[in-house]
Subunit: 256 residues, 6 copies
Amino acid sequence: MRPNRLREIWGTGKAAINGWLAIPSGFSAETMAHQGWDSLTVDLQHGVVDYQAAVAMFQAISTTDTVPMARVPWLDPGIMMKVLDAGAYAVICPMVNSAEDAELLVKSTKYPPLGGRSFGPIRGLLYGGADYPEHANDTVVGFAMIETRAGLDNLEDILSVPGLDAVYIGPSDLSLALGCRPTFDDVDPPVAEAIDFILAKAKEHGKIAGIHNGTPEAALRRIEKGFRFVTISSDARLMAAGARTVVGTMRAGTST
Amino acid sequence: MRPNRLREIWGTGKAAINGWLAIPSGFSAETMAHQGWDSLTVDLQHGVVDYQAAVAMFQAISTTDTVPMARVPWLDPGIMMKVLDAGAYAVICPMVNSAEDAELLVKSTKYPPLGGRSFGPIRGLLYGGADYPEHANDTVVGFAMIETRAGLDNLEDILSVPGLDAVYIGPSDLSLALGCRPTFDDVDPPVAEAIDFILAKAKEHGKIAGIHNGTPEAALRRIEKGFRFVTISSDARLMAAGARTVVGTMRAGTST
Amino acid sequence: MRPNRLREIWGTGKAAINGWLAIPSGFSAETMAHQGWDSLTVDLQHGVVDYQAAVAMFQAISTTDTVPMARVPWLDPGIMMKVLDAGAYAVICPMVNSAEDAELLVKSTKYPPLGGRSFGPIRGLLYGGADYPEHANDTVVGFAMIETRAGLDNLEDILSVPGLDAVYIGPSDLSLALGCRPTFDDVDPPVAEAIDFILAKAKEHGKIAGIHNGTPEAALRRIEKGFRFVTISSDARLMAAGARTVVGTMRAGTST
Amino acid sequence: MRPNRLREIWGTGKAAINGWLAIPSGFSAETMAHQGWDSLTVDLQHGVVDYQAAVAMFQAISTTDTVPMARVPWLDPGIMMKVLDAGAYAVICPMVNSAEDAELLVKSTKYPPLGGRSFGPIRGLLYGGADYPEHANDTVVGFAMIETRAGLDNLEDILSVPGLDAVYIGPSDLSLALGCRPTFDDVDPPVAEAIDFILAKAKEHGKIAGIHNGTPEAALRRIEKGFRFVTISSDARLMAAGARTVVGTMRAGTST
Amino acid sequence: MRPNRLREIWGTGKAAINGWLAIPSGFSAETMAHQGWDSLTVDLQHGVVDYQAAVAMFQAISTTDTVPMARVPWLDPGIMMKVLDAGAYAVICPMVNSAEDAELLVKSTKYPPLGGRSFGPIRGLLYGGADYPEHANDTVVGFAMIETRAGLDNLEDILSVPGLDAVYIGPSDLSLALGCRPTFDDVDPPVAEAIDFILAKAKEHGKIAGIHNGTPEAALRRIEKGFRFVTISSDARLMAAGARTVVGTMRAGTST
Amino acid sequence: MRPNRLREIWGTGKAAINGWLAIPSGFSAETMAHQGWDSLTVDLQHGVVDYQAAVAMFQAISTTDTVPMARVPWLDPGIMMKVLDAGAYAVICPMVNSAEDAELLVKSTKYPPLGGRSFGPIRGLLYGGADYPEHANDTVVGFAMIETRAGLDNLEDILSVPGLDAVYIGPSDLSLALGCRPTFDDVDPPVAEAIDFILAKAKEHGKIAGIHNGTPEAALRRIEKGFRFVTISSDARLMAAGARTVVGTMRAGTST
């Protein structure tokens, strides 16, 4: 089976650089995949993307050796299994709030006997190879998002669920959950404290910790702290920022 | 009829700032439309976009007051009329090489008696208003691209065609046509000379001249020269450039 | 944040006129949006519409000042959050049968601390404006459909759930639930009684009551009774009715 | 091969009632196909429809015994052959202005030796049956639109082209061509005269004449005159008209 | 209402031959529908298909008298009701593990008073006819997949749920559940035993039993055993197998 | 620039095995691409495929090292340039009937000074690499289809056009052109003679000759004769043939 580059990177003790896709287009996904990201996550939760678009985006990413991933809309076995069948090598699941939630995540992303994933990896076989069934459980990665107060309260239990690979922090939701304003990088002190807590606990349990960032500077600081999977910005944000800069320069240069 | 902001800008002697759309997605188009461009051109020629995607993109642009435009794949009456019917307020037509070509462009974009555009502005009526038929000829803008040696040779004749509104320069094709390497901004001397020639002739004939640019700096220099319509970069280029910068910063910050 | 015209209408004591979209097309949605409805609801439950089509339809509606809404397929947090992120200003949720159901509806449609909506209003920011996060909870409207016997039995509890904005009646399902034949307007007495009961209870709790109608006549009668949100027919029904009339006239006029 | 119901109707001396599809959706097409039209024309010219949507619409129509047709964007062999390959049983081609144009229409819609249609009726075989190749030339119908002054001037020549089956009048374009305002039914006298002329000449040459109408009343009058193929309104127009009536009734009933 | 050919076949004591669709395309679905299958199942679970594609595929199948069916991704009322509203005449639901699961399946696929399906059969009315509401409960078929150890353990309870029509076996998942390698036809002894057990119990309770097969030979053997609904291979598998054979023949014939 | 495997195969004196794609789906294209073909041709002429679907299919093919190709609907510069910009490495153009036609094919597929292809290889750069502009003319292959009597008559002139790479024979159209019934393999004597003639002339001019076949047996015979590019069957045909065999076996095995 084609190895999961994320696990290879983690095996060397390094951090993976993840890009984020909110535009439902195979072409923009392929363009992003040529910019050097270790992995790209198709966001089916807050991105404007559904399953059919995601498949086209996985195909586009698969023209390169960037790892195709997905964030699913919700803790729903149907869609988690569908994105894996379509060749995603990692799944990020939002709002995992309890050990029970984490168990459902594992059940939905691992084959028996570890989990209860239904068999039929239709595009997984094309992308991963004919021995996909034997190695999928050790290749595919499941991330549980810790982003609510319940998630924080039950963190030990969540991290103790067998088969859980990693946790992922959404600083915006975590901020809202703690009564702060939603932001990615310059989080309020209670959020910063919660982030440190999650990271420390993940390390304790030998789990990978990942986090969403607005800028590379924030991502680098977080890697230094011990995060092994960092997302920076997104396709739509990078495009909009570039456009704003261009238009701003033009308006400044033509106003007189 | 809803006025064409391009003509309003030109009426005040200013230049219009145009963005470029190569990603076939209504969402990326809408995101671009919120960044302050005067107009946005859906590129059906070199963009990865066909007509059905273009319609969704026109709708997305129409949620703002940015002017929706299209570049068509070729001097073909069918597609020129279709994008206008779908609400485009301007059409850029590639490789107009002769007066005959320019006449076909006018014929395809203006109603009789000026031209021969077929009647049925199905979304034009929604976007422009019920009096679209009366005012379309004075509102919609047709750009003839001058980008071949034949186009240069026949420039006077092209500019003399009644009903032609504007010319547009694709520096890459013009460079290739003159035996130079394709580029947007730092063109070789023969290309620079040809660009100046086209601009001068357009002014002589009272036509608007537009040009494609890679950077705002180049666009500003060209506005100073007299160009009244400048395109800068594109959705996909801005996204890719932003991503490359992020990934570059991350690689630099994590290598040691 | 762009205000929700539904709330403005309700603030003046009036009723909102809602259209219904079952055809998965941005063009038909835009055409409907130009006919003067206060709001248009994309029906992801019984309409032939999924999320990706819904986004295109929200964009099309957003070219006018008609309010974009969605009915979701089921009481599922994932899709409720996705349609809101895509810019819907109101959500109708089918088969809310208990206080627990209503709480999940509120949790899915309101940000903390009132609810548990996940943060990432990607198109909501474009449509609503940069201050969307601050005002979304007071702007977006959640309708709980009361259309089962359990819903009737638990109506007081449902209406007492904090953060619930409104209820909506599907006369067909309510009829089936009460052992009557499904219809919109000329409902059987037990259904009529149930409708009156729901309306009275909603008023008691200071909640908006809405209902689905087949004809404007029925809708007007229901507004007189106190309904403040009335849907009439749908895109597909209006088209089919118009076509049947045309074909009927033609058959009558040509048969001899 | 499945017979063409249009030819069966014409064989009995009657007129066919044609509906018009401008919404790019298989579902709206199928809904229209259940309303009793003899044929339905997918409008790839002024409708918001491209080829891929048209195929889905042909399939939807093919669930009934309504005849699937297409109007193509322009006199272009590529698209005429593509819609036939996809199962259209008739093609309406805009702006046929000369015998040469009519010959290209015949060449594009009939197999050798009569024409030059390329062989590969991929969906035609599914819809028409295995003997499609033998009978296609006698089954498929090609309509030449007469709607310009040149078309009027060259009408005799056009009607004399071997293999041409029928002519079709677009009153809007014909009106514009004759310096009148575009309309369907209440055309100005010069247009009325031109319509009568086309009809008379078509009869003389034993060709079917068809025409676009806004209302069934106009269509019935034209059938009485001798038109054998009448289009009335369209999917989008019928929907919009129905919606305007509903909203109008609601506004009238609630304003006080 | 249009009768369900599956029930007609079963009424004569015969077995239905079912094809399987994993390619999200109306054209491939229509091509398959012309090959003589009794029914075709659009696979929304492991196929690369979502709801919008499924609708186009149902339409394509409906151009023939093959019965349109769907396998849904998960035991989720929303999607089960949506595929039925879109005209599916049977639903296969994966991983039904308990009587409670089976009750939810019945509730989602049958109207009250038997179930709790919400009313709005928008395309069901087009495909089935105007009396769809009266006859849907007796026409539509719901299959519960028995493919886990829990499903086996609770089989009696599942089969006793009123309104359940049939069971369906996925040999791959059943194999995994029993600690064997996933396969369709040559299953390991424990799986063969479980299959026989399910079949025997289904017969006891007067339910139809169906099963997935890789080859017609396996399917014929299973019909002999008493299965009344057999799936063989899939669109993508048949295409790939054909291609492999062609390429293999070519490589063998050209290597020297 | 990524080399064109077709040219590599031809450089070793061997023949390339080409598959054919008529189903507009990235998933079926990717499945085909994993079966070992040297190249796969997306058929935009007789396949049910338009440009937007073709792009997704090119991406799917690009996940393997099979060469992506396209057959365009017609000798139209717009679509030829668009498929090349989208990354096709070869174009087959139907009905090239004269030297003038062949010159237009060359002009549309080669950059100046050899041709007049417009510059903007948006996906070509991703697929081919940053040096695409320098090497495209020597990498991309243009096939002229010889399939009409005019094509035969003008064969010498066509083959003498500078920049033309190859010819391709569609036996069905050639058969029709010569008054024979359309077929792929067992062509009538005049067609066989014409095929031999084209092959001989192509060899004389040092051009590659390709041909469409129904079966591998026919393809092997034609390779022996000297064809260097053979297409066998298509995705839809292989799928349908497989399905017919399965259903036939099932019907035979269950009838008694």
